[in-house]
Subunit: 338 residues, 2 copies
């Protein structure tokens, strides 16, 4: 049974998912003999192996009507080894005076971004990138409408050292029955700032970055990409809509196109600057059915994993960054887009 | 200049330490030809290379009076690539409306635990382990008495994947001018519990673990070692004094001996269970000159790095543990001490 437990000393939740220990770790490289092959017969996410995953909940680009068959351009399936599921309901119970537990309710899906086994997101074309973002939005809306779901997090783990267990390009989307502590903290500080100044702190930060420029990597009509002033690790990069908006899912088609453009460009630059470093990114957006419209501002946080957070960071929550966002931004800016 | 910056969106500090990018990464293995050699001429922490480190602030076991010469059994030196230093004072300044910065004041030292280049802490004898803990206490007391220091964190990074940049056995101790957010949260929840129940939440937790037993790995007269109910990752293990005490540095000699005994035993068990996995441990104790005597309880948190926290954990602050503390504790208990 998927279980969540609360640490009463820190108020943080942990999802206990021992079934996930059984999930296959598949980092299949196409060797020299396969250099021109795009699909791998052993990879569960490749063409021809659609029956190896749970049934798809979404597919783009297939010319036939046959679900779970090859020919798709993007495919979304339930996670086969989910940390959470919808069988039972979330309910915070003191099973002992000091032991708080719940069924780990939620919805976990995998977005198989492309049929190409070895394609790197940093080299997607604009269509491919837009397709991924459209799938994010479509599945975000579907999951956020499910009963009991309070937050939906979209994230990508790229590379083994960033926690990816499968090398075929994919992202994940997980709906959970609580507002996560990291988001709660952002909401509470943004709300306080709004109360004090009647302004969105993220909008103010964007204006400051545009004025100061030294940490801005890229911008277009709709989005800005910069390194935060207090970046926690080398090449930590954020992407924010320039227009005020608390919710990712309100993006229209043009905005999705513009986000695709900037995400593609920054991933390419980071790929070149860090020699293909592993990374994680995630989207912070408003919790489901919560009115944060005035004070919150959705954004993407991209965290390359070039260094290891160690005992100091774990024990204190203070990060040591062995670079500065200004020098990182300067390097990224100098990299020409191909 | 070592700088600290505050993230106003989360209230967390980051130490910017680009100098640390220049520190040497030295994972020198003694090869077969050197199997019986204990020292390595290229390692800065080995006998004969004492001049490669800053001057020692403490040494145990040397038979001569010549500081910074071989013959020591344990040696403490300033960190040659410190993230913080004492040259200027901490002071939180708004250098721009949204940019909070300070000089990164503090004291960073390295405890070279043994002259033996390849010795694993899991195989230290009791004397060696006691020596390390005595050095922790002695340097803790010295650093905590320095001006402006509000918190002193002692930690160990073992193995490259746990962030160790040098393989010669060592721990670190860092004094900083703020109370770290992770500790603040523990203090605030423990204080609330004490206010409600007039009891220490950690003492209650120890009693519960002793009653329930399924997560207790080891105990002796003075200490208990268990896996927390909401363990964040496989084999996360805590060691706490059974007697109520908020401050690590109040340990007497007998208690140090008893802590050495239990730390040595649990490290050995984890070494065997995880096939020598990298790990971090750190000591959470009361902030300097802060009265937490009634409600706080110092402890060691030991975090083997057998899995990678990825996008979900970074984005939410919720952990997915692919094992349970009960199954981990059962395995550790089954491992006989050599």
């Amino acid at each position: 049974m998927p279980e969540m437990r609360k640490n009463l000393l820190t108020d943080n939740w942990v999802i206990m998912a021992p079934e996930r220990a059984k999930r296959p770790h598949s980092h299949i490289s196409l060797d020299v003999g396969h250099l021109h092959a795009e699909h791998h017969h052993e990879c569960h996410f490749c063409y021809g192996n659609e029956h190896e995953t749970p049934e798809e909940v979404l597919a783009y680009g297939r010319k036939t009507n046959i679900a779970n068959s090859p020919g798709w351009e993007l495919r979304v399936v339930s996670n086969r080894f989910p940390a959470v599921d919808m069988e039972k309901q979330f309910s915070e119970n003191f099973i002992q005076p000091l032991e708080v537990s719940s069924y780990a309710e939620g919805r976990a899906e995998v977005i198989i971004e492309t049929p190409h086994h070895s394609k790197n997101m940093a080299f997607y074309n604009l269509n491919e990138m837009e397709r991924v973002l459209n799938a994010y939005k479509e599945r975000y809306i579907a999951i956020s409408q499910e009963k009991h779901i309070k937050y939906v997090i979209i994230f990508k783990n790229y590379g083994k050292k960033a926690g990816a267990s499968i090398s075929h390009p994919h992202s994940q989307i997980i709906g959970i029955p609580i507002i996560p502590p990291v988001v709660k903290q952002e909401l509470s500080l943004a709300k306080k700032y709004y109360k004090d100044k009647k302004k969105c702190i993220y909008c103010d930060m964007i204006n400051r970055q545009l004025m100061e420029k030294s940490r801005v990597v890229l911008e277009n009509e709709e989005f800005i990409c910069f390194m935060p002033y207090a970046a926690r690790s080398p090449f930590e990069t954020w992407i924010l809509p320039k227009f005020h908006s608390d919710s990712f899912e309100f993006m229209d088609n043009l905005q999705i196109k513009k986000l695709a453009e900037i995400l593609k460009a920054v991933l390419y630059k980071i790929h070149e600057a860090t020699d293909n470093a592993p990374y994680n990114y995630f989207i912070h957006t408003s919790p489901v059915k919560t009115d944060t419209a005035e004070y919150y501002h959705w954004h993407v946080e991209l965290v390359p994993r070039t260094t290891t957070h160690a005992g100091f960071e774990l024990g204190t929550g203070i990060y040591i960054n062995i670079s500065t966002p200004e020098e990182n931004a300067k390097l990224l800016k100098s990299i020409k887009l191909s």
